[in-house]
């Protein structure tokens, strides 16, 4: 049973996230993939995450597919215009990649080629529109395709945002453009996601709440100061500060959060972003009893 079917059935879904390597050695991502095979319902493959040059998400997604995992190919509007995005989506479908997560993309200025020109010919909503159109057997301009691709489309949302109504307006557009599921920015405060889910209950969509296991108190403080939409509460920072085994405590905090989300049925699942510590994901899954 695949991600789409599980979400449709109402299963509690777990997705993880992996970045293709900066280089051509796929050994690490392959190892991490094997370690979670059969234990997660999908794995996002990031698309030049943080505007950094790496192998592309299409390549990473194909590798996961070959390893027997279900990839969720991320695609942003930063590096490709509408021609290239549609082409990438067609290639993905031809290779058997069905799950696509559409993102606008970070600005090149934050990456490792800050002098690059950002494309932004299409935003996340437009990418969803393009994929939906391809599923009708036509490109964006109505030209016929040979064969009709099938996608299961997703998008992102930031629950901690001021003004939240503006995020929700965009979320509605994403749904209208074809998004069937959402993955959120990492959340640490259960009340934040609870009230967000309450705000969007009429939208009738699937939401996987983002989880980033902490590795230190410093990491939490860094994210609070530098990552839009992430706010780690003081008591969690304090727990991390006091802990002897920081990695373990970070995983404990994540596991408690995930269990509460599942028990109280706050969301349809969780999206675990280990950002560079993918080897810890199997441990976290063990702790949650998945």
């Amino acid at each position: 049973m695949n991600l789409k079917e599980k979400l449709a059935r109402g299963d509690f879904v777990i997705t993880a996230e992996m970045a293709p390597p900066k280089g051509i050695d796929f050994g690490h991502i392959r190892e991490c993939a094997r370690a979670v095979k059969g234990r997660v319902d999908g794995v996002n493959v990031t698309d030049f995450q943080s505007a950094v040059v790496r192998a592309s998400s299409l390549g990473g997604a194909k590798m996961l597919l070959d390893e027997g995992l279900e990839p969720i190919m991320q695609i942003t509007g930063r590096d490709r215009n509408r021609i290239a995005i549609q082409g990438e989506l067609l290639s993905a479908a031809a290779l058997g990649i069905k799950n696509v997560l559409a993102l606008t993309g970070d600005h090149p200025s934050i990456g490792d080629h800050p002098d690059a020109r950002g494309v932004f010919d299409m935003d996340s909503v437009n990418i969803l529109q393009a994929a939906t159109k391809l599923m009708e057997g036509q490109d964006l301009n109505g030209n016929e395709l040979s064969g009709t691709p099938e996608y299961f489309l997703g998008a992102s949302v930031t629950p901690l945002y001021d003004p939240l109504e503006l995020q929700i307006i965009k979320m509605k557009k994403k749904i209208q453009a074809g998004a069937k599921f959402f993955q959120t920015q990492a959340v640490y405060d259960i009340d934040v996601i609870r009230s967000f889910m309450d705000e969007i209950k009429d939208l009738n969509t699937k939401v996987l709440v983002g989880v980033i296991p902490l590795k230190s108190a410093g990491m939490a403080k860094y994210m609070n100061n530098n990552v839009p939409g992430i706010q780690v509460p003081d008591e969690i920072i304090e727990r991390m500060r006091k802990a002897e085994d920081k990695t373990k405590e970070g995983l404990n905090i994540a596991a408690e959060f995930i269990e509460q989300i599942k028990e109280e049925k706050i969301c349809d699942g969780v999206h675990i972003m280990a950002i560079g510590a993918e080897e810890n994901v199997p441990t976290l899954l063990d702790m949650c009893g998945f």
Partner: protein
């Protein structure tokens, strides 16, 4: 207005290497307002060039430098000073410099970098306001241009990258979409934002553009 900024003097001198006699042009409109090509800046430039051993054969404030007929007529009136020069230093925008270059018959060098179409906040403070996209969006964005004021030129609302209403690309800048949201909310017009905007027609901005008023 076209906002311009004077190039570093070293760069200007580098252009003028081997050119001893210089004719200077300015512009009565934008470059005068930007203090990059009015009479005062021309006089200052003349003094500096003379300090560096150049001879300034003549100066003029073109009215304006982007108007072909005006430029041609004015340069004709000063053809003696122009003919005795080795080069023209144009203190206007990039458009003004190209217009002068079309008529001068000697090399024309830009004294300014042309920055953007923008507005004067107060003297010496300018901000970009229009990217001349060829299809004005202001009618549904509460008079705030997302093409210009959003770092990604997004048309369907903000990315996730704003914190406290500030853009993550440059925290000195307000998130255009938060500004648009606030103003539309004040005007009770938030519904406007629910309409999906498809990919923009960038063929309208395929350059070089030209426009002839139809009769």
């Amino acid at each position: 207005m076209i906002i311009s900024k004077q190039k570093p003097f070293e760069e200007i001198l580098n252009f003028l290497k081997g050119k001893d006699k210089i004719f200077i042009t300015g512009c009565s409109l934008c470059a005068t307002s930007c203090m990059t090509g009015g009479q005062q800046q021309i006089d200052e430039m003349k003094n500096k060039l003379e300090e560096h051993g150049k001879t300034v054969t003549g100066t003029t404030v073109l009215d304006p430098s982007c108007h072909r007929l005006q430029v041609r007529a004015t340069l004709k009136k000063q053809k003696v000073e122009l003919a005795s020069a080795d080069a023209v230093l144009c203190m206007a925008c990039g458009d003004g410099a190209q217009t002068v270059a079309a008529f001068a018959k000697i090399p024309v060098y830009p004294a300014n970098d042309t920055l953007f179409i923008g507005e004067v906040e107060r003297i010496g403070h300018f901000h970009e306001a229009c990217k001349a996209c060829g299809q004005c969006e202001l009618g549904w964005t509460a008079g705030i241009c997302p093409i210009t004021k959003c770092a990604k030129s997004l048309l369907n609302g903000p990315c996730g990258g704003a914190t406290n209403g500030k853009c993550e690309v440059d925290p000195d800048n307000d998130c255009a979409w938060v500004l648009i949201y606030n103003r539309l909310k004040e005007q009770d017009m938030l519904d406007t934002l629910l309409e999906i905007k498809g990919p923009k027609d960038y063929s309208k901005a395929a350059h070089p553009r030209k426009y002839v008023v139809g009769r």
